[in-house]
């Protein structure tokens, strides 16, 4: 069974999660069918195949490892709950993205005070990364972690919709059409959100760079 999972992973790893490639879809169809029929082992395979990507996307959308873990758990529970209604001719990855976006939106909504703790979360992420990087060049790891924290802060300045749009488009690599489908918006709305988000990120970066130059 682990061999089968690895085989599926190899077949689909080269493809983006949102890539509706026929090969990826056809290789997963039997597993999805078995999971739909209530086969827990097949569902476990689905989890193993997608969990890293789900948790990464959730982290990009939420900006916190702890929240990303909770969100990933919730995502798979929803997948299990609604898998019966999933048609195998649909794009599973797109369907999964929709669930991720909805779960992360619910998480963000439930945690209204996120913005107050956002900086704290970023600092904590930074601390974790610094402690992890004990084996390599500590200075380089710290610089990388600082950069990462700065980008997360930049993402925190966006509205939820802008963040979802830019994460899916620029970081997950979906096309704007796919992003529109996942978020249930029109393409023009998504393009507007993406444009606004890119402008805000650019402004944030310029502001930080100016501060660094002065400091």
């Amino acid at each position: 069974m682990p061999g089968e999972v690895a085989e599926i992973a190899l077949m689909t790893d080269s493809l983006g999660l949102g890539d509706a490639s026929a090969n990826a879809a056809s290789s997963l169809v039997p597993v999805i069918d078995r999971a739909k029929a209530g086969d827990i082992a097949a569902f476990e395979q689905l989890i193993e195949h997608y969990e890293r990507r789900v948790i990464t996307t959730a982290w990009r959308l939420l900006g916190s490892s702890e929240d990303a873990r909770d969100a990933a758990q919730e995502v798979f529970l929803r997948v299990y709950k609604y898998l019966r209604g999933f048609r195998t001719d649909q794009d599973f990855a797109g369907w999964l993205y929709r669930i991720i976006a909805n779960v992360c939106r619910d998480h963000a909504r439930a945690r209204r005070r996120r913005d107050q703790f956002a900086s704290f979360e970023v600092e904590r992420e930074l601390g974790n990364l610094e402690s992890v990087a004990s084996g390599e060049n500590v200075e380089a790891a710290a610089i990388r972690a600082q950069e990462r924290a700065m980008i997360v802060r930049a993402l925190n300045t966006l509205s939820k919709k802008e963040r979802a749009a830019i994460v899916l488009r620029d970081l997950e690599g979906l096309s704007s059409e796919e992003v529109a489908r996942v978020l249930g918006s029109s393409q023009s709305t998504v393009r507007s959100q993406i444009s606004s988000a890119r402008a805000k990120i650019k402004q944030y970066r310029e502001r930080v760079l100016n501060q660094q130059r002065r400091g």
């Binding site: 827990i40 989890i47 948790i55 490892s65 758990q73 529970l77 974790n128 990462r148 980008i151 970066r205």
Partner: protein
């Protein structure tokens, strides 16, 4: 395409989110406009910076934790499936929809039946000469002493403002007197009590002899039947009168 328009579209241009025709026009503009070109470069740098965001490494322990959490929750759910889950397991979506439609139809039929039954009662009341239930508000309001005393100061002025729904509501709240009338209108003419009393000739205009006054109280306190009859000659026609 002017600079203002180009600057609006540059955020989309840098990541190829524009239609080819718009992208080529912007590219042509950027060839000769230094300021817009500089802005496009800034956006490209910003986007490159954004793409450097790599998520933290999620170790296997964390991933296993997520997986086991999900599987444990699923196992718990499977042990206690909900009613809907049971329905969904055994029935398909179409069957569930058909069942829902059937339940809705039955509900609608029950509502229709109750409505028609109420209409029938109202029409029976009208046929019996009684006002419809909605119109029996004022006597009911007066029938309850404590409620009458509560509503006494403004009762006269408020009464006309009570709509048919309000009267129906009052009728429901004060059912003691109205219930027999509403349920079986024909019984309202049944004799509740009967009394006979001898009166002097001066009391009536029917004759000079002594008269017998017969009162019949129906179950409706508003209706009382009174007969006056000559006392010694029972064969004479009596003249009914009502209060």
């Amino acid at each position: 395409m002017n600079c203002r328009r180009v600057r609006k579209l540059i955020p989309l241009y840098v990541e190829d989110d524009l239609a080819p025709s718009a992208a080529s026009r912007i590219a042509a503009h950027l060839e000769w406009c230094g300021r817009c070109n500089w802005l496009a470069d800034e956006y490209k740098e910003s986007q490159s910076w954004l793409h450097t965001l790599t998520p933290p490494e999620f170790d296997e322990a964390l991933l296993d934790d997520v997986k086991h959490g999900v599987l444990t929750e699923i196992a718990a759910t499977r042990q206690r499936p909900s009613m809907l889950a049971l329905l969904a397991q055994h029935w398909g979506r179409r069957q569930v929809l058909a069942l829902s439609a059937a339940v809705l139809m039955i509900f609608a039929l029950v509502v229709l039946y109750v409505y028609q039954a109420r209409l029938r009662v109202d029409s029976a009341l009208e046929a019996a000469g009684e006002p419809p239930r909605e119109e029996i508000g004022p006597p009911i309001e007066n029938g309850s002493p404590e409620r009458g005393s509560e509503a006494a100061p403004g009762a006269g002025s408020q009464a006309p403002h009570i709509g048919s729904r309000g009267r129906r509501h009052l009728a429901k709240r004060l059912p003691k007197r109205s219930t027999p009338v509403e349920k079986e209108p024909q019984r309202s003419f049944e004799v509740a009590s009967q009394s006979a009393q001898t009166i002097t000739p001066g009391d009536t205009s029917t004759g000079s002899k002594e008269m017998l006054r017969i009162e019949i109280q129906t179950s409706d306190p508003l209706i009382r039947i009174i007969w006056f009859a000559p006392k010694e000659t029972d064969q004479h026609q009596s003249k009914p009168a009502t209060d």
